[in-house]
């Protein structure tokens, strides 16, 4: 990868080939640079990057627990402030740590206004423990705790709208991004780090193992999520959406059919009713964020 900081997340870690989260880590550090302290939550990223005595992190890095990375980051920030130091502080967690178990600590840190950037790599389930549903798992996705079955269509709920929740805390900058758009990820990380106060960046990070696709398709899957409107790359400044990536939208089916987690919507029989419900989610996203350049006709 081009760029002066890309070696700050070292090769040789234990992520799966095609891991979206590992790519996110490289992009985050590439954008943040060496004067950054990373506070990681327990999860895939922490486990695959720091098996003692090896570490992939060439910046100061700390992992404490699953749910407390933003509280740890609060303490790091206060400590640096007291010492007159200038390192940037990033709290980093997966969607389980961020949407579910850690939300109390995140809410506290954002309410208090610490100068930290919280980055969520969102792979839409608890991947480290074996693909269980989280508050970020999309509607109808089959996971090991929301399996599709004779009387189940997979996860019965839509993703929690965490960006809106954190914007409601008064966060000056909230953004979503996708590893399929690397330059956009880096730009948003930089903007978050440059913005004083608690900022939030949520990066869509497809998981080949958990979602069920071949590792070489990670970028393509990430791109399809954006192109179908099921994932929107946007920015919120002072609580208002100021920018969203416009696309010529494709039908959601093109995204769904590529992944085993949605296979039950197509096999043994096609479930048009459910596919339509998911299309409606994309349509609402498109309407809410104004992302349509031109809707592609069948």
């Amino acid at each position: 990868m081009a760029g002066s900081n890309c070696d700050l997340f070292e090769f040789g870690h234990r992520a799966c080939g095609g891991c979206g989260a590992a790519l996110a880590a490289r992009l985050i550090l590439d954008a943040a640079g060496k004067d950054t302290i990373v506070c990681s939550a327990t999860g895939c990223m922490e486990v695959f990057s720091t098996p003692y005595p090896e570490t992939a992190w060439k910046v100061p890095w700390i992992h404490s627990l699953f749910e407390n990375n933003s509280a740890v980051a609060s303490g790091v920030e206060a400590s640096l402030k007291k010492q007159g130091r200038r390192e940037k502080v990033i709290a980093l967690g997966g969607d389980g740590a961020t949407f579910d178990i850690g939300i109390l600590c995140i809410s506290g840190a954002f309410e208090r206004g610490h100068d930290i950037t919280y980055v969520c790599y969102d792979n839409e389930a608890y991947m480290n423990t074996g693909i269980q549903r989280s508050g970020a798992t999309p509607y109808d996705a089959s996971t090991t705790t929301s399996p599709a079955g004779k009387c189940s269509l997979g996860n019965p709920r839509q993703k929690k709208d965490l960006p809106a929740i954190l914007a409601a805390h008064g966060a000056p900058y909230v953004a979503t991004a996708s590893i399929a758009y690397p330059a956009d990820v880096k730009k948003k990380i930089q903007k978050a780090l440059e913005t004083k106060g608690p900022c939030y960046v949520q990066i869509h990070a497809p998981c080949c193992t958990g979602w069920g696709f071949e590792g070489e398709k990670t970028m393509a899957i990430g791109k399809l999520a954006v192109e179908t409107g099921l994932w929107v790359n946007f920015e919120m400044e002072e609580g208002r959406v100021t920018r969203a990536k416009k696309v010529v939208r494709k039908p959601v089916e093109e995204y769904l059919k590529e992944q085993k987690r949605f296979r039950h919507l197509f096999r043994p029989t096609r479930n048009d009713e459910e596919i339509q419900k998911i299309q409606a989610i994309a349509d609402r996203n498109a309407d809410r964020y104004g992302i349509d350049l031109k809707i592609k006709k069948d």
């Binding site: 700390i62 609060s74 400590s79």
Partner: protein
Amino acid sequence: MMEIMEGSHAVAHAVKLSRPQVIAAYPITPQTHIVEALADMVADCHLDAEYITVESEFSALSACLGASAAGSRVYSATTSQGLALMFEVCYNVAGMRLPIVMTIVNRSLGAPLSIWNDQQDSISLRDSGWLQYYAQDNQEATDLHYIAYKVAEDHDILLPAFVCLDGFILSHTYEPVDMLTQEQVDSFLPAFTPYQRLDADDPVSFGMYATPEYYMEFRYEVDQAMKRSLKAFSAAGKEFAELFGRDYSAPVESYRLDDADTALVAMGSICGTAKDAVDEMRKKGRKVGLLNVRTFRPFPDADLAKALSGVSRVAVLDKNISLGAKGAVALEVKDALYGSGIPVLDYIIALGGRDVRKKDIAAVVDLAEKNQGDLFYGLRKEVL
């Protein structure tokens, strides 16, 4: 200078004199007066510290963990349910060898809800890797903070420490306290020098995961540091005594034990009552003494066995219960005296703030002399 102060305020003042750089705390009875006093000091620029008003005790200790790892001297205070909520972080702080000092204003744990004193909260964290020091009075409660920072931050130790004082009994009681000056404290407790810290110029990874090939060695090293800390505690206590005249260097304090038949063993403020009770019993010719356990973690086995070597029986006053077993102090005492043949009788006493008077201590000695022990003392009759 001798001042009449509430225990909480005396502790807060000692904390201020210890020059913490980051404080993170969450209010809970009966700890609140400490953190309120510290907030006042920060608000009036009497204390130059970052004060983080977290949203839970869990975050209080998590923020302390981050602040300590980034290289600052750190302080928090809690009790009871708050400490229970910190459970997960407590083990983490010790495993990461971060020398945080935290005051535990001892209180019982629910259910049923009780805001009153016993020592179940800190005792329940006995296996977490935190040093545990118990104060007998408010003078000791203040002084133990300086000693705790000194031991915790020693690069041969690097362990977090609880300074425990009994809720309400000490925290809300006004007593004369000789408060040191800033110069005096500075002469005893130098500025914090972290062994390692989060630093962009020298990046390290804290809190990596360890496979079965490595995990046990980390635990071994914490245990070794714990054991080394007994000497560090005594050395710090001696230095403190030389400078300021108050001697806490003994991990166990003996009181009239020399020719005692019955030895009471206790921790914390109950020792003051027990000493008075011992004096009264001595006047009546009964050979009774007291052993005050100052350091519960690490447990001073050898010192305790030596101090109790000549007694005929030991009566332990436990303000906690390991349900289904015995009081935690009695279990340690039995272990320390194993093979000596000295009987150890356990008395679960004063749970949930039930008052203990001199006559109760005397009643316990009566029971012990009749070889009746291993019981809850003073229960209401309807449960018997």
